[in-house]
Symmetry: C2
Subunit: 252 residues, 2 copies
DNA sequence: CGTCTTGTTGAGCGCGATCAATGACGGTGG
DNA sequence: CCACCGTCATTGATCGCGCTCAACAAGACG
């Protein structure tokens, strides 16, 4: 783990391109300057490095500047469950607030960098800036919703449907960040996808091949291209939200 | 749904026996008095009634005074996943904060009563009482941890293990509230347990019968008695936390 | 008492797990 | 540069846990 204490412009929230997805949503420039004083340090992680481990005392929460991380939750017997994959602008370490120590482990899937948000100081600042408090609550709440969708997937969907909704969820989140969303690289291995979806890697592989055969996607190793997005939505058991938006104006 | 606007003593947080599990943890009596002015209304629910539905605009979060509720998350095609079972002192409706409308539906499993916590006013108060803010964040964070355990269960455990850890989790939460924790009534149907655990009701039934045969539990309809708690922990793939506590002093 | 809902138990099947072999890269050293 | 190796992914063959379908039992309720 490589700590960087940086006062260069790119280290400040006020000029960070992720402002619209990260903590500073809906906050006035003068208040963002206050956040700048709070978020001064960053951590640089190589692929495979841990940001925090289960049981580490909570001192900070983290926002991803670039890169991808996974969080996983382990059993005494060694079995591990991947809980989430995390993209730039997302906040990590929130499960440490409850009991003062992280419950999961966060590991970089590629070279990544995260901003350190000292938690004590952050809570103080959130009390001073109502919009910051609101945004933090929104982030926590959306994290809950994301986990609930994940629970629905593991509890009620078949392997095929889980994989389809996983790909679509990833695509949506990439799109929200302005990345190319119908063609991207999977930063996680088949093992990690399988763990996340509660299925075996052979099943992941087979389903991806089947999707490709059906003309829903193209896949070469970890590079994936979504061809028939509507078809994927149909498979996932949910409607394409973009379609819903397109149709609404016509009926109302 | 039956609204009650009550100024009787029992309606106040300051005298509520749930204070130690609910919002007012770690808050001074004078500050609890402020919470009293916020939490004046309650809702009385009959079995089967909804507290809120998916899409309802968020106006409040709720704390359970008595009774049990389930939250579930639905798919367009009708499939539903039970996300959680909720006991007195727990906060409901947190998934509505993210986008201003509830993402799940909360339904009473028995006659229940919840306190209405107007959300706007609550956020204001949380800014004035640092300990209230801290406690709220702890509650949100623990909710995340609970969901993560649930994900581990659905993603990595076999049916038998899921059921064992479900029973133990319920038992722990009942114990924390001072209820009898080795003998209690399941407030939820087999269908609801099955949905929660991502297995079919026949499997729930069979596993319970098997547990009873093995002498781990006694069960008659919805009344359950845990006989061999350590055995259940072993089945669930986790260690009995009470044992860990007992052993620790010896080795250190 | 019959009816309806909820839970239990049995029999057979199928989805996805498991075991196994092969293929595709990427890195490393000769 | 290619040969070698380790890791990761794909594909096939077989197995088994849990699903599905079905019949029956036990309460709950009018």
């Amino acid at each position: 783990m490589n700590y960087t204490n940086s006062d260069v412009p790119s280290g400040k929230c006020s000029v960070c391109v992720l402002g619209q997805f990260c903590l500073p949503v809906g906050i006035s420039p003068s208040d963002i300057a206050k956040i700048d004083t709070l978020v001064k340090e960053r951590v640089h992680l190589q692929k495979g490095e841990s940001l925090y481990r289960h049981g580490d005392p909570l001192s900070a929460v983290y926002s991803i500047r670039f890169g991808t991380l996974k969080t996983e939750y382990g059993l005494e017997d060694g079995r591990q469950q991947v809980i989430g994959f995390h993209l730039p602008g997302e906040i990590l370490g929130l499960d440490g607030i409850g009991d003062g120590s992280y419950q999961s482990e966060a590991i970089a899937l590629e070279e990544s960098e995260v901003c350190i948000i000292r938690y004590e100081a952050f809570e103080d600042l959130a009390r001073q800036i109502p919009e910051l408090q609101k945004q933090f609550h929104r982030i926590l709440s959306r994290e809950l919703t994301q986990d609930q969708r994940h629970l629905l997937s593991l509890g009620s969907l078949r392997a095929e449907e889980r994989l389809a909704s996983f790909l679509l969820n990833l695509s949506q989140r990439l799109a929200a960040r302005g990345y190319l969303n119908n063609e991207f690289d999977l930063r996680m291995s088949r093992v990690e996808i399988g763990s996340y979806l509660g299925i075996q890697i052979e099943t992941v592989s087979r389903m991806l091949s089947r999707f490709a055969e059906s003309g829903l996607i193209q896949i070469k190793q970890r590079h994936i291209k979504l061809i028939d997005v509507d078809g994927l939505y149909q498979l996932a058991g949910i409607q394409n939200p973009e379609r819903t938006v397109q149709i609404k104006p016509c009926v109302s």
